[in-house]
């Protein structure tokens, strides 16, 4: 017995044609083929998807939660990026 744990995979599912793939959870599998088959069994037993992506979890890179403020701060004070920043006359409909 090798006692080796199968790697962890993150599962992304497209719920229906036209939507983007969304992260739904993770699972263990020996390889990508098994990961997709397991994802079908674990995450799409009720037609929750039409397409599956699996990515080995070790390839996911993320920012540090503790640096969240610094990372997202630059976007915080840029209200002029939103349409409501601009003051237009009321008689101007639909813009």
């Amino acid at each position: 017995m090798t006692n080796k744990e199968w790697p962890l995979w993150e599962v992304f599912i497209r719920a229906k044609q036209g939507l983007n793939h969304k992260h739904v959870g993770s699972l263990h599998a020996a390889d990508q083929t098994m990961a997709i088959e397991n994802a079908r069994d674990v995450y799409t037993r009720r037609m929750e998807g039409v397409s599956i992506w699996v990515v080995e979890s070790k390839y996911i890179h993320a920012n540090e939660p503790s640096e969240q403020d610094a990372l997202f701060d630059p976007a915080n004070d840029k209200v002029y990026r939103h349409p409501t920043f601009y003051i237009l006359p009321e008689e101007l409909n639909h813009m």
Binding site: T2, G25, S26, P65
Partner: protein, 316 residues
């Protein structure tokens, strides 16, 4: 600048901001969750055994596909929950090891035997019913991965309870013997089901902390009372009798009063002395050991394929 991480954490909890795996959390929060989620996962997995016992003996194909689908769902629930628990830093194999050595617990209800087909009805109706009562508030639990897993679980549970109730209903509309079988199942499953909510609040020392951390939203006794209140009328529709002579409506409380729970029995089953503890654990250990060659073969095959791919890309 002196930052009190624990206070910041509690402030997030108060503001209903979910905690995610890489966020700072008190060590005790992590441990409490890890214990609760892994126990929950083990319960889903061990919970397949009592019902698995009847799949081949289901009375017709309709019942068989339903039971098979239900048991498969429970496997899925176990997997969602193991994944959620792994985000707290314990490996899957380590969790299974704790189950197999008896270090980790699972819900005591699954240590009772399934003696007749009516037990499939009683389990779906009462055991899944009690589980739903517990699980619905967990969809809002403070730990993100746990809450998300519970949302998936809850979506799937309602069919479990309905198929169980339908089995009971069919038996109750059947022959005298069938109705008696349904009553017998209710008699055996009632008390273990209401014990599923855990010890009384004054005997549940960790509850207060879990409520403060918003892991739990309602106390054991609150959930138990809610379950009893909704189950009484369901029992009346079946024409069955709940095996509790003290059960009666209390106008002033607006709830049903009920008899004293036999906590000695509960503690015995938790301590491993229930009717099926050994059998359940043996079945899990056997499945794990007999599956070892499959896990190894799959690993070897994946490695071989990865090597082949590497070699061919090097050659090209």
């Amino acid at each position: 600048m002196e930052i009190n991480l624990e206070e910041q954490f509690q402030a997030k909890i108060e503001q209903e901001i979910k905690i995610e795996p890489r966020d700072w959390m008190p060590e005790k929060y992590r441990k409490t969750l890890l214990r609760q989620i892994s126990q929950h996962a083990h319960s889903e997995i061990v919970g397949m055994l009592p019902e698995g016992n009847w799949i081949t003996r289901a009375p017709n194909l309709r019942r068989k596909v339903a039971l098979l689908a239900k048991v498969q769902d429970e496997a899925g629930h176990g997997l969602y929950l193991y994944s959620a628990a792994e985000t707290l830093g314990m490996s899957r194999d380590q969790m299974l090891e704790e189950l197999h050595t008896g270090k980790a617990k699972y819900s005591s209800i699954f240590n009772y035997p399934t003696l007749t087909w009516a037990d499939m009805g009683a389990i779906g109706w009462l055991v899944d019913g009690a589980a739903i009562m517990n699980q619905v508030p967990l969809c809002r639990t403070s730990y993100g991965p746990y809450a998300r897993a519970m949302v998936r679980v809850c979506k799937e549970e309602s069919f479990h309870q309905r198929q169980g109730y339908e089995i009971m209903l069919t038996l109750c509309k059947g022959s005298e013997a069938q109705k008696a079988m349904a009553q017998d199942a209710l008699n055996r499953w009632w008390w273990p089901s209401i014990m599923m909510f855990g010890p009384n609040d004054d005997n549940s020392p960790n509850s207060a902390q879990s409520m403060k951390w918003k892991i739990k939203r309602f106390s054991n006794d609150e959930l138990r009372q809610k379950f009893i209140d909704v189950t009484v009328s369901q029992t009346e529709i079946l024409g069955l009798t709940i095996p509790d002579k003290d059960l009666k409506w209390n106008e002033s409380r607006g709830h049903y009063d009920f008899g004293t729970i036999n906590w000695e029995e509960f503690n015995n089953v938790v301590a491993g002395k229930g009717p099926c503890n050994k059998e359940r654990l043996n079945a899990r250990v056997k499945a794990w050991e007999n599956g070892a060659w499959v896990r190894d073969a799959a690993t070897a095959y994946a490695e071989k394929r990865a090597n082949k791919k590497n070699n061919s890309t090097e050659a090209a």
